[in-house]
Amino acid sequence: MPNVLKLREAVCLLGRFPALAGLDLDLDAGGITLLSGPNGAGKTTLLRLLAGLVPLHSGTGSVLGFDLNTDRVSHRRRLALVGHDTFCYDDLTVRENLIFSAKASGRKAAIGESTMERLGLSHVAGVLHSRLSAGQRRRLALAAAFGRDPELLLLDEPHAGLDAEGREILDEILRETDATGRTVIIASHELERTRALSNREFSIRGGRAYLIEQA
């Protein structure tokens, strides 16, 4: 199985604070990986590092075959990140945001439409992002991410803010994504729910990763 990411002694700084402090992590392609750990442990920074949004201060790292020390841009089109923000525009509608996101990442606009339906957003397709509830915004962020049809899906607290139906839809999509052989990494505090979905779990503590379970 090909290696999807490899980090060695990875250090990431937020200002002067080392959010990741010599983290080692190896992950083969496929499966759902859970990142658990307390607030401020470095989970979000790790996901942003993998997405190429923050630079490696020291150490080595590669994601989808790209060396993060020399190129943290080229792999971005092959992944999707759902973070704390929606990455959407207030003055665009749900449909416009999804179509923009799909087109910007080189996908067809129709993918935006289909993910909108899948996440139960069709009835608010013409509603501006600024008018959406927190749960609807979460669904929109997830729809935008799935609309990129990524090889590597990075999810930061994906269940936060979702209602029961939204959580069920998300879990179903994640199981389907897992079945297609794609790689999903979830940072979550909802351990019971995400452990049921995942194949392996790493605990992130003090900016380092510890493998605690492998199915």
Binding site: R76, A80, L92, A144
Partner: protein, 224 residues
């Protein structure tokens, strides 16, 4: 997706957001009109000063209003992490630069047209040399948009970006204000031949900042 499609996508998105939010219509244009009106109050229209200094006042007003438009072009990327979303899309930095600069240039062109009419009516300016005026406005607009986009992204990542942008940008735009004012003066005085060297200066400025912007925007977009 090729570069042309990326540029079209970014420019289209920014213009759609501006049309939807009506910031240009409801805030930037009224701001420009108020500045033009304040100059009229300050310089007493009866003494004929206004018509003589109209080109300078017009371009100062455009410059001040442009600061709002440029700031707005980057503030929309700060909300809800949209900038990270755009970075994750993996678009080419130079395409994002050109797309955003085109959207700003379109807004500035609308702004200049409305403010130009306001100045003509309010200051009693007689219009001559339309060709040279249009050439001047075109070159100056491209220069303003290109330099504005470059300094806009530089300021976007900073905490005090609202106050830093004018501080960084206004000195850089001094040649545009000088060249455009002198070219407008020559055009309106009926000696367009004298205006062309200024138009050439504005064109060089526009080309220079477009080139530098295409090279520098990507790294600045990533690292500021």
């Amino acid at each position: 997706m090729n570069a042309f499609s990326e540029i079209k996508l970014i420019a289209g998105k920014d213009l759609r957001i501006e049309m939807r939010s009506r910031i240009l219509l409801s805030q930037v244009l009224p701001f420009g009109a108020i500045v033009v009106l304040l100059f009229a109050f300050a310089l007493d229209p009866d003494r004929g000063i206004l018509a003589r200094v109209a080109p300078g006042l017009f371009w100062i007003t455009v410059l001040l209003a442009a600061l709002l438009a440029i700031g707005r072009a980057f503030s929309i990327e700060q909300q809800h992490g949209a900038r990270d979303g755009l970075r994750l899309a993996g678009l080419d930095g130079s395409s994002v630069f050109i797309g955003k600069a085109i959207a700003i240039a379109v807004q500035l062109a609308i702004l200049e047209a409305v403010l130009g009419l306001t100045v003509v009516v309010l200051y009693g300016v007689e219009v001559h040399g339309v060709v040279v005026l249009l050439a001047t406005a075109s070159a100056a607009t491209i220069g303003l948009a290109a330099a504005g986009t470059l300094y806009g992204v530089l300021a976007a990542g900073l905490r005090a970006r609202e106050t830093l942008l004018p501080l960084l940008l206004l000195p850089v735009l001094a040649p545009v204000m000088l060249g455009a004012t002198r070219a407008f003066e020559d055009g309106l005085e009926g000696v367009p031949g004298n205006a062309w060297p200024w138009v050439a200066l504005l064109t060089v400025f526009a080309l220079l900042y477009t080139g530098v912007g295409m090279l520098a925007f990507g790294p600045l977009w990533e690292d500021t």
